[in-house]
Amino acid sequence: MRKFALYGVLIILVIISVGPFLWLLSTSLKGANEPAFQYPPVLIPHQWTLHNFVEVWQKVPMAAYFTNSIIVTVLSVIFNLVFSVLAAYPLARFEFKGKNAIFMMILATMMIPFQVIMIPLYLIVLKLNLVDTHNAVSAYLGVIIPFVVGGFGIFLVRQDMVHVPKQLEESAIMDGCNSFQLLMQVILPLIKPTLATLAVFTFMANWGEFLWPSITLTKPEMYTLPLGLVYLQGAFSANWKLIAAGTILATVPVVVFFLLLQRYFVSGTLSGAVKG
């Protein structure tokens, strides 16, 4: 009996969390003769159609949005991993003057809200010509540059590197490893799960980022998916079937990714908890 009640509550919770997406999905599948909304609401479409997906793909440059989002996200993930490892390594495994001061400075950068520095950042990016009026490469660089390195990633990687036993390091040095070989061959293989966590965290943050690209990108063909969806929503505000189809298309890759890599998604968001 108690078990029944608990399953009931769980099912209600699932309906609440998944419901808005199902409603969107249902809307995107409705045919031309069926209004997007009628009273009472119809959840299961009378005539199923994929027409809205085809139409949205033709009416707005969805393919370009996908390409831009993938490029921007992949670059951010790679840069973030490389720079976090580079900065974390000396902070975790070396003794040198000023180490604590630098570590504190890196922690302090995490307290700066992006919303405060975005205006000067835009002036800097303009000066460096990293906007889309120049060319595609500079547009991509402009979008990712505030996110290629961050205190959070450095902190996360450093915390794991500190754990690597000293003996492993000593025996590697005995074998003639220099510090770079030590990093690549001994330390990185041991902290793979943390790197995966950081990768997924960076992926999520950048795939969904709206604020910054909305400032630097002006050309519709350079838009990332979040910008494209907002544009779609503005341009076809009367056609919710089209908006729903575009939104569902943009969401599918993330959901698939999430289902495949659940463990890292959860650890990625949880480690971000302390980030705020």
């Binding site: 078990k3 608990l6 399953y7 769980l10 919770l13 699932v14 609440i16 969390s17 808005p20 997406f21 409603w23 809307t27 909304f37 009273y39 609401p41 720079f83 580079l86 900065a87 000396p90 070396f94 040198f96 630098i102 995490m110 307290m111 700066i112 809200p113 919303q115 405060v116 520095i117 205006i119 000067p120 002036l123 800097i124 540059i145 290629v148 390195v149 450095i154 915390q159 510090s179 795939w207 969904g208 709206f210 604020l211 909305s214 400032i215 979040p226 929503q233 908006i243 729903a244 939104t247 969401t251 993330v254 959901v255 959860v266 968001t269 949880l270 908890a273 302390v274 980030k275 705020g276």
Partner: protein, 279 residues
């Protein structure tokens, strides 16, 4: 020799980027906040604290601060409390529980724009009862969406903490004759107190910085009822091109968040740091 130079070789590039794209703009933001952009976009004159005076004597800005405070009050208590019973529930050793957890977590992984569009459509489907179009309910409507999106996230934080609670305490409570609710009140709640503090801090920081949800769902409207601080900063900077005023508002946001971030780093980061070193 290598050991002396090497740390700086590794640090050079990341540090350069942090300085160029965090610390430098931080300093620039302060300088910009002292300039008067209201008449000149190019070569604006130095104006001291003018922008701050303008902000605090503007009824519009006070409304924005009030909206932001109201939004925070709507969101934060819900974020602290609602995920606790959910976490306790999904911590039960039931068949299929991982699937339930994952589905409840799903809103966390989709982007804010997608979630905003889904909820806008949901509210719009409510026909004459669309909460987004009334100035009395729009802020609440956005807050509900934000709580919905954050629920799974905070559930996981609590769940991680619940899983570290010792069974002995629960068993002792049972021997003392505690019922289900009493057990959770006397054992679970005290155990979760540090997690609740963490959730309070990060959800407050998040609420104060709300932007994309507002942009997608209401654009600050109707009649400014959902115009929050970051939306105002964005609008002043990239709508009105008053960079000075926008940066001054940004600095006010920063001062509010600064105290919270300091607590966050002191209690959670540096504690994690200590634990890492002792492990």
């Amino acid at each position: 020799m290598e050991r002396k130079l090497a740390p700086w070789l590794y640090l050079a590039l990341p540090l350069l980027l942090l300085v160029a794209f965090f610390l430098l703009p931080m300093g620039m933001a302060f300088v910009l906040s002292l300039k008067d952009y209201s008449h000149a976009l190019y070569a604006p004159p130095f104006a001291g604290l003018l922008n701050y005076r303008v902000l605090f004597s503007s009824a519009h800005f006070w409304q924005v601060l009030l909206n932001t405070a109201l939004f925070t009050v709507l969101v934060v208590p819900a974020m602290i409390i609602l995920p606790i019973p959910v976490a306790v529930l999904v911590n039960q050793p039931f068949k299929g529980m991982p699937i339930f957890r994952i589905l409840i977590y799903l809103p966390v992984v989709v982007s804010l724009v997608v979630a905003g569009i889904a909820w806008k459509w949901l509210y719009q489907s409510n026909g004459g009862m669309n909460w987004l179009v009334s100035p009395n309910t729009a802020l609440l409507a956005v807050a509900i969406m934000v709580v919905w999106k954050g629920l799974g996230y905070y559930m996981m934080i609590y769940l991680a903490n619940l899983q570290s609670a010792s069974n002995e305490l629960y068993e002792a409570a049972e021997i003392d004759g505690a019922g289900l609710l009493q057990k959770h009140w006397y054992v679970t709640m005290p155990h979760l107190r540090p997690a609740m503090a963490l959730v309070a801090i990060i959800s407050t920081i998040g609420a104060l910085k709300v932007f994309t949800e507002i942009y997608v769902m209401t654009r600050g409207g109707p009649v400014g009822s959902t115009e929050t601080l970051v939306y105002y900063i964005y609008d002043q900077a990239f709508g009105n091109l008053n960079l000075g005023l926008a940066c001054a508002a940004g600095f006010i946001l920063m001062l509010v968040i600064f105290g919270l971030s300091l607590l966050n780093i002191k209690y959670f980061y540096l504690k994690a740091e200590k634990e890492a070193l002792n492990a």
